[in-house]
């Protein structure tokens, strides 16, 4: 069941998304990665409490480097998984964006998704190039021949039959 788009939004579906939409989506994705990393820290703390006798239940924070590495790793896995699966992460789903290959096909190859996630995790500032680029493409898009377009379709799940 396709969900009807608002009339005002139908015209720009499939056109390139700008820096603001993509940045907001990236911030949401970063937040998701941070929360997921925090959950992992909590799980590790609980595991430590139960596995070692005599210890109290408290949050066992890793070192700053360890925490950064954890967030980076989570972000990489999360982005790669989302783009390879549907071309959307949670942030892009909220903003109605989709990553598409320039060559068509609608869905990113797995290696492209992984490479794009790795590039964003290593060099996130490359996203800002889409503001300067005449084609609304970031550094990662230029390297991997991808683009981010508006795609509000599938923003809501169809209602379950009563």
């Amino acid at each position: 069941m396709s969900v009807a788009l608002p009339a005002a939004a139908r015209g720009f579906q499939g056109s390139r998304a700008g820096i603001v939409s993509r940045s907001v989506a990236a911030v949401i994705d970063l937040g998701v990665a941070v929360v997921a990393a925090f959950v992992l820290v909590l799980i590790r703390s609980v595991w430590t409490f139960f596995s070692s006798s005599g210890s109290t239940l408290r949050v066992v924070w890793p070192t700053r480097l360890g925490l950064s590495t954890l967030v980076w790793a989570v972000l990489f896995v999360y982005l790669a998984w989302g783009w390879a699966r549907t071309g959307k992460t949670l942030g892009k789903r909220v903003l109605g964006l989709t990553v598409v290959p320039l060559g068509g096909g609608g869905r990113l190859p797995a290696w492209v998704a992984v490479g794009r996630a790795l590039l964003y995790a290593v060099f996130p500032v490359g996203l800002l190039w889409c503001a300067v680029s005449g084609t609304q493409r970031s550094v990662q898009d230029l390297l991997l021949r991808t683009a981010v377009v508006y795609d509000w379709r599938g923003r809501r799940r169809p209602r379950r039959a009563a």
Binding site: A8, G11, G18, V24, R156, R159
Partner: protein, 295 residues
């Protein structure tokens, strides 16, 4: 009526009292004397019986310690019953005397000479006259005693009988209550009721004060299977679907607003950058208000 009968009988009997030889005695035959004797015999027998009853009644009256009320304008039912009983006894005696008299008149010619010869007749007459006089004297007392006896004893007997009878069970067994109720005109009774007056007399505040509403509510709640009711309501509502739809509605609007805002911001930023770089964008970002600008 009983008293009149009694008076009539007494008058009749007094006229034939024995032992008073006057003008009426002249010219009497032996058969007449025998008739008088028989009448007096019956009267004495009745008098003895009534005297015994009076004696017993007097004992009861004194035991109960109540004097009869002689000032009553209307004789009570007990007095009427007692009087009627005495009157009936005297009337019965009179009838019996009449029968006996007719019998004696038939047999008198044959037996009167025996009584006259032995002299027993006069002795017998004196004795009976004395007893008759005494009986006449105790009649009022006897009557009072009988009335008091009946007045005191009848209620006791009735009460004792009622105590021994289960009237409720008797009514349930013998009376067709459904038929009785079916014959009752409830509408007519309802029409005769002044419900407004009844309502005005009700102190509703006092009634409410006496009600333990908390206990009543607790009892009602205890009897309700709230968990089952809640489950039924939830099943009917399909609460998950309701929450999902309402959440989707709210979040959907918020997301739309966010997206429109982001698209506008994208357009604004792109325009500023283009202006700074002095270029014409080929893949321009369309505005939500101008979807036709999309390539």
């Amino acid at each position: 009526m009983a008293r009149s009968m009694e008076g009539e009988a007494a008058d009749h009997l007094v006229l034939v009292r024995a032992g008073e030889r006057g003008v009426a005695d002249e010219g009497r035959s032996p058969a007449d004397d025998l008739e008088v004797m028989l009448l007096q015999s019956v009267r004495v027998a009745v008098g003895a019986f009534v005297a015994a009853a009076a004696f017993g009644a007097e004992i009861v009256r004194r035991t109960l310690g109540e004097e009869p009320d002689r000032e009553e304008a209307e004789p009570p039912l007990a007095s009427l019953v007692a009087g009627a009983t005495l009157g009936l006894a005297v009337e019965t005696a009179t009838r019996a005397t009449g029968v006996a008299t007719r019998t004696v008149r038939t047999l008198a010619p044959y037996g009167s000479w025996i009584l006259a010869a032995t002299g027993a007749q006069r002795t017998l007459q004196r004795t009976m006259t004395r007893l008759d006089t005494r009986w006449q004297g105790v009649v009022p007392q006897t009557q009072e005693a009988a009335e008091a006896f009946a007045r005191e004893l009848v209620p006791e007997i009735v009460t004792a009988l009622l105590d021994r009878i289960d009237l409720t069970a008797l009514v349930e067994e013998r009376v067709d209550l459904d038929a009785v109720v079916a014959r009752v005109d409830v509408d007519a009774i309802a029409e005769r009721l002044d419900l407004d007056a009844v309502a005005r007399r009700l102190d509703v505040d006092a009634v409410v004060d006496r009600l333990d509403l908390v206990a009543i509510a607790r009892g009602v709640i205890d009897q309700l299977d709230l968990a089952a009711i809640a489950r039924g309501v939830i099943d009917e509502l399909d609460l998950p679907a309701l929450i999902r739809e309402s959440t989707e509605g709210v979040t959907g609007e918020a997301v739309d607003d966010l997206r429109y805002g982001a698209v506008d911001a994208d357009r604004s930023v792109a325009r500023i950058v283009d202006r700074v770089l002095r270029r014409r964008r080929t893949d321009a970002v369309p505005t939500p208000d101008d979807p036709g600008a999309v390539p």
